[in-house]
């Protein structure tokens, strides 16, 4: 187990170091930033859906809340960048606490409820009555803080921390209780696990990850409209990348992001008609042949030996 943890940590470190080095070989920092951001976001979805089974279709609500929390801290509270990022996370966590009654729902009801609440947050932020605070429909301009290089490296630091966090969760008894709760929360409570508290912790951690991503994204682009940080496709991308790579795994969301976001940037911008086709075909193949994601390919050998654990690969 320790050996596997060391391997996982080493792979994570190599991944982040590769992203540190990449700007020296590839000049489009925006694509690199977005790829790192989606890795973090899809890990946030992984934490919530992959481990506890809650599908956050409205995940972008936390992302947008983080972006606005960060901007408000900069513009109105005149916080320095680091404190503004922390404020963005705390603000998102507060939104998470307010929305926590959603956890009483399950399955499609939770997914739809979550999507609806994200649109409510969007509606509040974009409301012209709050123009003095949020900028309303005119958006937010924090271009005086524009620093893409710094925000890129902060995102990489967050990626490393999130990867280490996911590795810890997967190996800990806390993570074990989360995976078990997904199957049968009553049975897990019979082991003395505080199911409600654990669910809440994961919900808030996942919200905080999205909020931090949103805050760093706001810093990176420095000018945005409500529609750009509450764009549902941001959350959907994170979900699809996670599912494609492998839900509940450590590296599935990373692999999913590299492959799908890579394809998106290779052919999605220049020839969007082929991109849609390629995406569609890939997703059909995934659903039909690899419902547990690309990483489940590596687990088939074990299943053949009856040594199972197929449903939740460890890497």
């Amino acid at each position: 187990m320790r050996k596997q943890t060391t391997i996982d940590l080493s792979i994570s470190l190599v991944l982040v170091l590769a992203f540190v080095a990449l700007p020296h070989f590839y000049s489009n920092l925006t694509i690199l930033f977005m790829m790192a951001m989606y890795m973090v976001l899809s890990q946030g979805v992984n934490l919530l859906y992959g481990l506890t089974g809650y599908m956050p279709f409205g995940y972008v609500g936390f992302f947008g809340a983080g972006a606005y929390g960060f901007s408000i801290a900069l513009q109105h509270l005149h916080f320095p960048i680091v404190l503004a990022l922390i404020f963005g996370v705390l603000f998102t966590s507060l939104v998470g606490v307010i929305l926590s009654p959603l956890l009483r729902l399950s399955g499609a009801y939770f997914a739809i409820g979550n999507l609806a609440t994200s649109q409510v947050i969007y509606g509040i932020v974009a409301n012209s009555h709050l123009q003095g605070i949020t900028g309303g429909g005119d958006g937010v301009d924090i271009s005086q803080y524009f620093n893409q290089t710094a925000s890129y490296y902060v995102m990489l630091a967050v990626l490393l921390v999130v990867m280490v966090g996911i590795i810890w969760v997967k190996r800990s008894s806390f993570g074990l209780s989360l995976q078990a709760m997904r199957d049968d929360s009553v049975s897990v409570a019979m082991s003395g696990v505080n199911v409600v508290r654990n669910r809440m912790l994961v919900w808030l951690a996942s919200a905080a990850i999205a909020g931090l991503c949103g805050a760093i994204y706001a810093w990176f682009i420095s000018f945005f409209y409500p529609s750009s940080v509450f764009d549902v496709s941001i959350g959907i991308f994170a979900i699809v990348f996670m599912l494609f790579g492998g839900q509940g795994t450590i590296f599935g969301p990373v692999i999913g992001t590299i492959i799908l976001y890579g394809i998106y940037n290779v052919i999605g911008v220049s020839t969007p008609q082929y991109f849609q086709l390629a995406y569609g075909v890939l997703i059909v193949i995934l659903v039909m042949f690899l419902p547990n994601g690309v990483l489940s390919l590596f687990k088939r050998g074990r299943r053949a030996h009856g040594r199972v654990l197929e449903s939740r690969p460890n890497f």
Binding site: S173, D184, M190, S191, G306, R307
Partner: protein, 236 residues
């Protein structure tokens, strides 16, 4: 001998339908008590209400003299109660993970020793420790559920029909394990059963009929009584 469990005037049920009517019983430390009753008598409801899986309509539950009626199930488990039922096994976790989860609130080093001890008691589980619990047979799953419930060496074990669906061989194994745990750790057991075979290990017997306790006493006293024939056959 002091009481580990005391249930006083407990009424409970589901969504307005009352199943238990002012049930009172107590179990002393280190005692094996068997709760006999036919299908629908309210045995499972009584155990679930005791643990708090179902909120009682009225009445009180005391553990070690402390009123725990409003405590959540996980809080009661942490106070040394274990529950063995159809909830016993998580099929998508390995056998080893199921056992580890059973001792979730134990200290890491303590858990390691106790997992090793359970493998001694259940050598079949040790052989298959890496396999998913869902791949086990019904009897083996029951054994794993029992191992999961007993791993923390609880003061009181609530067992809900442990013999259901088991062959006579497995039933004898369950009975032997109850005896061993009682002897080695002084655990008390409240076993809800229909199978009278469990009377062999009962220090105390309760008969539950139509949501009410109709008999309380020893096995010898039960043999003198017509409580079982009333409960099982409606014979008066």
């Amino acid at each position: 001998m002091s009481e580990i469990l005391s249930i006083q005037s407990l009424s409970s049920g589901y969504e307005g339908m009352q199943v238990l009517n002012r049930v009172s019983l107590s179990v002393d430390q280190g005692v094996t008590a068997v709760l006999l009753g036919a299908n629908g008598a309210g045995k499972t409801t009584l155990l679930k209400s005791t643990l708090g899986i179902i909120s009682p309509m009225s009445g009180e539950v005391f553990i070690d003299g402390n009123n725990v009626t409003k405590d959540k199930p996980e809080a009661k488990i942490r106070k040394g109660i274990a529950y063995f039922s159809e909830f016993g096994v998580l099929p998508n976790l390995s056998i080893h993970e199921n056992l580890k989860l059973g001792g979730f609130f134990l200290h890491h080093s303590d858990l390691k020793d106790k997992v090793a001890y359970m493998y001694e008691k259940f050598p079949d589980l040790k052989e298959k420790r890496k396999e998913l619990a869902g791949s086990l047979s019904g009897g083996q799953r029951k054994m794993l559920g029992m191992a999961r419930a007993l791993i923390s060496q609880p003061k009181l074990v609530l067992m809900d029909e442990p013999s259901a669906g088991l062959s006579p061989l497995f039933v004898n194994q369950v009975i032997s394990l109850v005896k061993e745990f009682k002897k080695e750790f002084g655990s008390a057991f409240l076993i809800a059963e229909q199978n009278v075979k469990f009377l062999d290990i009962a220090d105390h017997v309760f008969v539950l009929d139509g949501g009410e306790i109709t008999f309380t006493g020893t096995v010898a006293e039960l043999q003198e009584s017509d409580a079982i024939s009333k409960a099982y056959f409606g014979v008066h």
